[in-house]
């Protein structure tokens, strides 16, 4: 396919769109608050008001402000800058929203401020089309320039150029550990030609995190395009998306997207009539946190039990079925097409020196505005929590922020001015993680927080290696003993000892990082642990005797 043909398809798709588009969020969060009914009523109202020529209601992906859903946004092609946001829209309000378009009355819905810091402080790269296009129609993706990066890569760049571009962009893995993406690609690309695989890790499982789900639900084609570019760059013809079964909407939309992309020759055999083949299949995981670990994920895709194995060999050398395999997180792959489209330099200009681009966080917990945000690296935690999130509701204050899920840690309020990047968070004993950000207020017991995460790890460990299988159980036990006010100094010492041992001796990342929530709360909030301690009966008895 010629580039002109692709551009023409995009133009046709663009022209087919009506002047006024009413975006109605149909992601999981908003669907849970009846957004499908809202969409239906919007459609009905457009009919009854005879506005079908100029107005269309579009079921779109997530707009981010999930706490205020269902969200409805009105965009007028004549004045694209003046958007109208409605929050917590009920199906009954749909009629008045449509009525307000031709001036017959005011919209009877809560109007939000599109210039609120929650929106204005964001920088959208991965989520640029999220909430603006219908994820179930490839035309909408083509209309915003979709698959042009893939076309460009195949026809204008050599595989080595693509790898080079990704390397120069400074993109690091968004799954949490922050491994340089370009280096990973280069390693797989350097392996001798033959069967290679691309795997998209969509096994998001951190408590409080829903970024990957939202990206898949809102803009599935972007991930497919990213994978296809990766396939071309490293010489792989087969890709798998490993997504957990708890994400049924994401799975449905991905399936639709794969079919549509194949029909348009954006995927499958001879993409755009070039010699490049790339097929994508979905693998549904039963939902195990450990399957986010590369080697466990591979075992699961192979149909086996999701157990990790020792590395090396790394998947880049010997992965799926023993072949070189490139595993990238959803968000990492979401960054690929913009990098190819705008160039490495553009991407490298965003963020901090060692952390480039943006990061999506799911902001939850004790906070006024919760939802998804995509912010440039280097923004401070304070800006996120206080300006964008609107701080803690009620009279309480921020006590800590948990980032990185069960592998991360709690950052106390005094460190709120820390810029968000891989290295600063790690220095604070936490980590970027895949992007869960849970805000805690004064009322939160940090020992309970540690216990919660330990309970999670205890339940999610695969049970293969002893430190993780038995260590998490023992740590949970000790934390419970503390909270029951039955623990003595000895127990606390034992807990610390265990943290070190589990960290140093566990087989995979789950075990090695499981003690982090305990260690970070111990580091910043040790007094809370000490306050729970009971006098040691042996010492007391000795003193009484003495």
């Amino acid at each position: 396919m010629e580039r002109a043909e692709l551009l023409e398809q995009a133009t046709v798709a663009k022209q087919a769109q009506k002047r006024i588009r009413i975006h109605c969020c149909t992601s999981t969060g908003c669907q849970a608050s009846q957004s499908l009914d809202v969409k239906k009523q919007l459609d009905n109202a457009i009919k009854t008001h005879n506005l079908g020529d100029t107005v269309e209601a579009v079921g779109v992906g997530c707009m981010g402000f999930c706490g205020q859903g269902p969200m409805v946004e009105i965009e007028d092609a004549d004045s694209p800058a003046e958007k109208k946001h409605y929050q917590k829209v009920t199906p009954e309000q749909a009629e008045s929203i449509i009525g307000s378009l031709n001036g017959s009355g005011e919209a009877d819905a809560i109007e939000g401020d599109p210039n609120h810091p929650f929106f204005s402080r964001q920088l959208l790269i991965v989520r640029e089309h999220s909430g603006r296009i219908d994820p179930e129609r490839i035309d909408e993706y083509l209309a915003v320039g979709g698959y042009q990066a893939l076309h460009h890569a195949i026809y204008e760049m050599s595989p080595a150029d693509v790898v080079q571009e990704i390397t120069q962009s400074g993109l690091r893995g968004r799954g949490g550990a922050g491994y340089p993406t370009g280096l990973k690609w280069a390693t797989v690309a350097k392996m001798p030609p033959g069967q290679k695989y691309i795997i998209c890790n969509a096994d998001e499982g951190d408590p409080g995190a829903f970024m990957d789900r939202s990206v898949l639900e809102s803009d599935p084609h972007r991930i497919l395009e990213g994978m296809a570019i990766a396939g071309y760059a490293v010489g792989a013809t087969q890709g798998y998306i490993y997504v957990r079964a708890e994400y049924p909407l994401a799975i449905t939309r991905l399936q639709k997207a794969i079919q549509q992309a194949k029909r348009k020759h954006c995927l499958g055999a001879q993409i755009f009539d070039s010699p490049v083949d790339f097929t994508i299949e979905i693998r549904v995981g039963a939902g195990a946190f450990v399957c986010g670990e590369e080697t466990a994920l591979i075992a699961s895709v192979e149909g086996g039990r999701g157990n990790p194995r020792p590395r090396p060999p790394y998947p880049a050398v010997s992965g799926l079925h023993g072949c070189p395999t490139l595993i990238n997180n959803v968000e990492t792959l979401g960054n690929i097409s913009p990098i190819i489209r705008n160039g490495a330099e553009w991407f490298a200009g965003i963020g901090t020196e060692r952390s480039k681009g943006t990061k999506i966080f799911s902001l939850t917990g004790k906070i006024r505005n919760n939802g998804l945000i995509e912010v440039p690296m280097g923004i401070t935690l304070r800006e996120i929590v206080e300006e964008m999130g609107g701080g803690v509701p009620g009279a309480n204050n921020v006590k800590a922020i948990q980032t990185g899920g069960p592998s991360g840690g709690c950052i106390p309020d005094r460190e709120l001015d820390t810029p968000v990047d891989y290295d600063s968070l790690r220095e604070l004993g936490s980590m970027m993680g895949s992007g869960g950000m849970v805000v805690m207020d004064d009322d939160t017991s940090m020992v309970q927080v540690a216990q919660f995460y330990m309970e999670f790890c205890r339940g999610e460990t695969c049970g293969k290696c002893i430190p993780c299988r038995a260590g998490t159980v023992q740590m949970y036990q000790l934390l419970t003993k503390l909270l029951d006010e039955k623990a003595t100094k000895r127990d606390l010492d034992r807990l610390k000892e265990l943290c070190g041992m589990v960290q140093a001796t566990s087989l995979c990342g789950l075990g090695q990082t499981a003690p982090n929530p305990v260690l970070s709360t111990l580091h910043y909030f040790e007094q809370e642990y000490l306050d729970l301690l009971q006098p040691d009966p042996i010492t007391v008895a000795a003193a009484n005797r003495g």
């Binding site: 999610e460 290696c465 038995a470 159980v473 036990q477 087989l507």
Partner: protein, 238 residues
Amino acid sequence: MSVVTLKINDIDVAAEAGKTVLDAAREAGIRIPTLCHLDGVSDVGACRLCLIEIKGIPKLLPACVTEVSEGMEVTTHTPQLDEYRRMTVEMLFSEGNHVCAVCVANENCELQDVAIEVGMDHSRFTYRFPERGVDISHPQFGIDHNRCILCTRCVRVCDEIEGAHVWDVAGRGAAAKVVTGLNQPWGDVEACTACGKCVDACPTGSIFRKGSTASELDRDRGKLEFLVKAREENQWTR
């Protein structure tokens, strides 16, 4: 065959390229405790007892899957490693129901041996006393899950040597256990060839051959009386 030289505990060792540190150490007479390693089947690096320090690598690596390389400097025993090993064994004892006195493998048990080797005389961790079952549905063998340490030797032996793949692991975390067939009673699993390799592979008394415990002895008290009568009265039928 190419050979590499490395240092293990400051001793110069020559080892065949491609061998593991564990092999090289054993050849040089240096003992590293292991439980999940079994000669002849693949290694999984699960028991974490063979963790070693290698100069220049910040992480501890399992000797059973780490290949030797030229100039490698390995330390197999440090106070820290010894402490971790002891804790690992303590945790093994506290997570199952290991009562040596009533175990078929008493005094012939690798878990016991390792406990002695790492100097574990008691566990500082809370005993969990889990509710685990015993399956004696197989005519020749039995499995006592109370004594299982999930080393998965049985799983690997059955899969890789016998080719029957009767054994596998089910469940997660503390609920993880080895299962036979599709979590059926062992006696119902048609794939089992009753070869007994799993019995030979098991490091503890978890998988055992029936009839080897004292309680299973079938004493025939009437036999003596019969013999006396037979000899005295030449009556040889009972």
